[in-house]
């Protein structure tokens, strides 16, 4: 459970964040400090028989029925870029 080598830039990349060098430096010490506190959980002697599947609230499902959705023009009003009633994005497929 050691956190001593958290690679902030690598984890940020996993989270699609492009940090500056200053941010990496600041977050490194702050996250080490936070993880140091979180690590106190590892010292706890936990019972073996704890059931983690018992949250009925989160297990509730509704019937799979189509319901009214937002009108396309309402959705598009927030799109940073659009064309022909669709959201436009930069090219996804790389050049061969």
């Amino acid at each position: 459970m050691s956190h001593e080598h958290i690679d902030v830039r690598y984890v940020a990349k996993l989270a699609r964040l492009d940090l500056t060098d200053d941010e990496v430096k600041t977050f490194q010490s702050q996250l080490e400090s936070i993880l140091g506190h979180v690590e106190t959980l590892s010292a706890l002697d936990l019972p073996d028989n704890l059931d983690l599947d018992g949250n009925d609230t989160l297990a509730m499902m509704r019937d799979d029925q189509p319901l009214p959705s937002l009108a396309p023009e309402l959705v598009l009003q927030n799109a940073p870029d659009q064309a022909q009633s669709q959201i436009r994005v930069p090219k996804v497929v790389a050049d061969a």
Binding site: A15, L17, L19, I34, L41, T57, N78, P90, K91, A94
Partner: protein, 472 residues
């Protein structure tokens, strides 16, 4: 003036909903330059709703400010973030907004907040810093700091906030108003921009416990659009609110009165407990042994959920899209780097880390087990007591900027509020006098009342008695 008193003025014909909206707009212009509780407000839209208000309805014509992470059709919803500021307009109403409108209320004003509700001081808002109306050199608390400050400053009669680890109760305590976090699932989260979905709840910030019950009555109930919404009948909260505490057993958790709490906070809360005892309550010392682990468990679970929830902010469908990106992957990276502030980035990285391969069981699974044990603590306590009484925070409002480089210190101050979120139980903060603190002569103190799952009637009953007790 409370909502209840304002409602009576409407019914007596002493004033009108449109006059009140105009008055509030004037107060915001005059007072909010310093407090900065409001991010925006749309007077034309609110006057239109107020002009048609049916004052015979439960919230008929009553203005309610809305935290800026709750979608309201046609209004901005910044979440205190540059990612959404000036680029996003809500295309729909959150369920709570629909319910407020159905009850006759007039949503008016969007209140400031820590970015995506991550913070305890409203210092993490990318829009502006909200100051405490009781002392402008102090934080208003957070993340619903704008809502609490507006109610305390008289620029709102009541407001909605959201509470993931104390974000309604802590600012309410720091600003001297009432803040209620309902049972998880009691109020629909549909249309609330998600931070940590297993913990988030919407609730009211008000000037009185009665007002709190009035708003909860309107916004509670099942919603098929929120799968975590509870399909349980909504009781009449006003029916038992004045029943008093005679014959009730109130639990005092020893872990919440440790050496770490400020002497003035301890004194005020203990005096409130003594008053409740004089009113006929039986006081029973109890133990919640896992209290010292709530912050650690929370700062695994909440960032883990946040890192997943905030992946939707990718610069594609709404919000900031970087103009400097070279390809689609770069759009994600650059848009998020530009749009998010430091606290949000910190928590996304923390959440991504604890969910990553090799660390998941050590951090996330372990935190979930501790969450179970924290919940068990409360369940076992409520077999012996009707409600639990504690301070809301270890100390009154700190100075602005005092934790700027040390986020862990701010996290640790959430120790008394997080437990209710992890356990999914209701909790309320009620003003409990003032105390001298760190050079300030009189800062508000809050007393917290926690009740069992769906125990809002009991919680409100004790809260009303505590509110009366703190007036003596």
């Amino acid at each position: 003036m409370t909502l209840t008193a304002l409602r009576q003025q409407f019914l007596n014909g002493e004033t009108t909903p449109t006059k009140i909206i105009e008055d509030l707009a004037g107060k915001i212009k005059a007072r909010d330059e310093t407090t900065k509780a409001f991010v925006s407000y749309n007077i034309e839209r609110s006057l239109e709703i107020a002009g048609k208000a049916d004052i015979s309805k439960p919230l008929g014509g009553l203005p309610i400010a809305i935290k800026d992470n709750i979608n309201t059709f046609g209004q901005p919803c910044t979440c205190g973030s540059n990612f959404l500021n000036k680029s996003y307009v809500s295309p729909y109403d959150a369920t709570v907004i629909k319910k407020l409108l159905n009850a006759g209320a007039v949503p008016f004003g969007r209140t400031n907040m820590d970015e995506f509700a991550m913070g305890s001081a409203t210092e993490n808002s990318a829009i502006q810093l909200t100051r405490n109306p009781r002392d402008p050199e102090r934080i208003a608390g957070g993340s619903s700091g704008g809502s609490a400050a507006a109610v305390a400053d008289g620029t709102a009669f009541a407001a909605l906030g959201s509470d993931t680890g104390g974000s309604i109760r802590q600012p309410a305590s720091h600003c001297g108003v009432v803040g209620l976090k309902p049972t998880y699932g009691r109020v629909s989260r549909y249309g609330l921009v998600a931070f940590a979905s297993s913990l988030d709840q919407i609730g009211p910030l008000t000037l009185s416990v009665d007002d709190s019950a009035l708003i909860l009555q309107a916004i509670a109930g099942h919603d098929s659009r929120d799968t975590s919404s509870l399909d349980a009948p909504v009781p009449d909260y006003a029916a038992t609110i004045n029943d008093g505490v005679e014959g009730l057993t109130l639990g005092i958790p020893e872990e919440y009165f440790s050496d770490g709490i400020h002497s003035g906070v301890r004194k005020n809360v203990e005096q409130c407990i003594q008053q409740l005892e004089r009113q006929g309550a039986k006081i029973l010392p109890i133990s919640l042994p896992y209290t010292s682990h709530v912050v650690a468990a929370y700062y695994v679970i909440a960032p883990a959920e946040a890192s997943s929830n905030l992946s939707r902010f990718d610069g594609i469908r709404y919000g900031n899209r970087s103009k400097n990106a070279s390809d689609i992957i770069d759009v994600y990276h650059q848009s998020r780097e530009e749009g998010f502030g430091p606290e949000v980035k910190r928590r996304i990285i923390l959440g991504t880390y604890v969910l990553s391969s090799g660390y998941y069981d050590a951090f996330y699974t372990r935190a979930q087990k501790v969450r179970k044990l924290i919940t068990r603590d409360f369940t076992q306590a409520f077999e012996k007591v009707d409600a639990i009484i504690s301070p809301v925070t270890p100390a009154p409002a700190r100075r602005i900027g005092a934790c700027a480089d040390d986020p862990l210190q701010d996290y640790l101050s959430d120790i008394f509020t997080i437990g209710a979120n992890l356990a999914g139980i209701p909790a309320i903060s009620v003003p409990c006098g003032t105390t001298a603190y760190d050079g300030a002569p009189a800062l508000p103190v809050g007393v917290q009342i926690l009740a069992p799952h769906l125990g809002e009637p009991m919680m409100l009953r004790v809260a009303k008695a505590a509110e009366g007790a703190s007036l003596h």
